[in-house]
């Protein structure tokens, strides 16, 4: 049977602190890279973790995939012990990777993509934007303030039109990404609305707002979700989220979901 995912040790090529507490890690991992789809993730364990604590691997989105060189990138924020250990690693060291996991974004219906990323939500979206590069579409990126905007340069290179929102108005539009999205969708006629597909990742309240706006304009919307995970591969059933058809599992049925199937209470 053809293998679709792998449990591999990968070597770090570079690990940069691009903002305080936010790291961009580039690794050599041709196997995972050649199968990965935008929106998928890996379960990651730092090679510095010897012994049993922390016990579980941590889920990280595939931020970028260079299929020609077999290099892959993660973009992550240090929040606890697992991400702390990853942040302390340097080039030449190793990490354990299980992946690519989960269901990525569904790219079939995409005529005009609109990508919406809030804060670290851009993590899975750059891979998506680079995959869609060449299409006529938009990426809306947001942060609290200018200094916290992430990965603007590589997004610009995708050829998508880039719109920026900062909550304090220090760069781009003042306010939230959702206001920018709303203004954009308000301009569409019914036919164009049918061709638009929104892809969003960010904090849960943002995703809920994005879905409700899309719903109002009859625009298709997919979101990438996060939950706490143990296995990342459908074994433990721990990563449940509520959907219209009962519980779904973020690591197997997602992390990318058609937002209209989820319950957003």
């Amino acid at each position: 049977m053809k293998k679709r995912h792998f449990d591999k040790t990968a070597r770090i090529i570079e690990n940069l602190e691009i903002r305080p507490n936010i790291f961009l890690m580039r690794l050599a991992c041709p196997d995972i890279c050649s199968y990965a789809q935008p929106g998928q993730f890996c379960m990651v364990k730092s090679g510095l973790v010897q012994g049993l604590d922390p016990l579980l691997r941590r889920p990280l989105s595939i931020h970028r995939c260079h299929r020609d060189t077999g290099e892959m990138e993660f973009l992550f924020r240090v929040v606890g012990r697992g991400t702390k250990a990853l942040s302390m690693q340097t080039s030449g060291q190793e990490v354990e990777l299980l992946g690519p996991l989960g269901k990525g974004f569904d790219l079939k219906p995409t005529q005009i993509p609109i990508i919406v990323g809030g804060g670290l939500g851009v993590a899975p979206l750059l891979f998506l934007a680079e995959t869609l590069s060449g299409k006529k579409g938009v990426a809306i990126l947001g942060a609290v303030t200018k200094g916290e905007l992430l990965r603007l340069e590589p997004f610009k290179k995708t050829g998508l039109e880039i719109l920026v929102a900062t909550e304090d108005g220090s760069f781009g539009n003042e306010g939230l990404v959702t206001s920018v999205l709303e203004r954009l969708l308000a301009k569409l006629d019914d036919r164009a609305a049918r061709d638009v597909a929104v892809f969003a990742c960010g904090p849960h309240p943002m995703l809920r707002a994005v879905f409700s706006i899309c719903n109002g304009y009859g625009v298709k919307c997919q979101v990438a979700l996060e939950t706490i995970m143990a296995c990342g591969s459908g074994l433990c059933l721990g990563c449940a989220v509520r959907s219209s058809g009962g519980y779904m599992h973020v690591c197997k049925d997602g992390p990318c979901f058609d937002a209209s199937r989820l319950l957003w209470e």
């Binding site: 049977m1 995912h5 449990d7 604590d53 922390p54 579980l56 299980l98 706490i228 591969s233 459908g234």
Partner: protein, 311 residues
């Protein structure tokens, strides 16, 4: 480790028997941590293991508990999945054919809320080709007895075991809960009711509190603790139960390395199950098997039974 070490001719004898259940080696995967097998098939050859115990199955499908269902604790994992499962009919139609086709030794873990439900489950599984044994999860509330767990009452444990044994001709392993005063008492009840073996331990009842939100972390408040943190407790119980009953004992609880597995086999287990370790590393079970074989070769053990400490 080498493949040859695993072959019958020159390596130690690895096969074990639990009543009528024959395992080619003593390493199994524990219920709830290996799905229905297929989920792992991309990464490991399940047929190389002694067997797998599939996710606990009930008469009707169950939706499980409200999230969050997981929380990591020091060297441990708290879970409150709530026995989410596809139900016995879907299992037979959609999951069992794959296990059969891939020649995976399959133990079906069953659960119910009444003796009657356990009995019906056993009858439905009986005679299905591809099923090698039943493991009875008695860590479930007995609805008729006000929700007292079957596994905490020797009389209820006896009745469930006897009902399952009478309803089917498959080997029956009773899986014991550690959340009792005297686990040996329950093991003896299962043995008296005709169990072919007992497996232990299930998870330890536990909880965690989020001090910022000032509320329990898990949606269900309580959950089950598993992983390396529970290993010493599990090992002590396996030691005690092995000396209290004469049927085979399957050791479970925090087994992560081959050394852990050997401790359980020395304590008196005939076989072991790997749970949480598989969630962290899918190949954990196979790594343990290979490590075990190497250890036996190096120390001149000819069979699994020889590892047991005689006292």
């Amino acid at each position: 480790m080498t493949k040859e070490n695993l072959s019958k001719d020159n390596g130690p004898k690895l096969d074990v028997k639990i009543g009528g259940l024959r395992l080619k080696n003593p390493v199994m995967l524990a219920s709830g941590t290996c799905g229905y097998g297929e989920e792992l098939s991309d990464l490991i050859d399940l047929s190389a293991l002694g067997g797998i115990v599939v996710k606990g199955i009930s008469l009707e499908a169950r939706t499980g508990n409200k999230p969050p269902r997981l929380f990591e604790t020091p060297c441990g994992l708290l879970n409150a999945i709530g026995l989410e499962n596809v139900g016995v009919q879907s299992f037979l139609k959609e999951k069992l054919p794959w296990l059969k086709k891939n020649q995976v030794t399959t133990v079906v873990n069953i659960l119910g809320n009444s003796i009657d439900e356990y009995e019906q489950m056993a009858a439905l599984l009986d005679g299905q080709s591809g099923i090698d044994a039943i493991e009875v999860n008695i860590s479930c509330p007995n609805v008729k007895k006000g929700g007292v767990l079957f596994g905490t009452d020797p009389k209820a444990a006896f009745e469930v075991t006897r009902a399952v044994k009478r309803a089917c001709s498959l080997p029956v392993i009773v899986k014991l809960s550690p959340n009792v005063t005297d686990i040996c008492e329950i093991a003896i009840a299962a043995e008296e009711a005709g169990a072919d073996g007992v497996s232990l331990i299930n998870t330890l009842l536990a909880m965690a509190i989020d001090i910022e939100k000032r509320r329990p972390v898990l949606g269900n408040v309580f959950g089950g603790l598993s992983g390396p943190a529970i290993k010493p407790v599990a090992l002590r119980m396996v030691w005690q139960v092995s000396r209290a009953v004469s049927i085979p004992v399957v050791g479970i609880g925090g087994i992560t390395t081959y050394e852990d597995a050997i401790e359980f086999l020395m304590a008196g287990a005939s076989a072991i199950q790997v749970g949480t370790a598989t969630l962290v590393k899918p190949a954990a079970g196979l790594d343990i098997l290979h490590g075990l074989v190497d250890f036996m070769l190096q120390n001149n053990y000819q069979s699994i039974g020889e590892l047991k400490i005689q006292d």
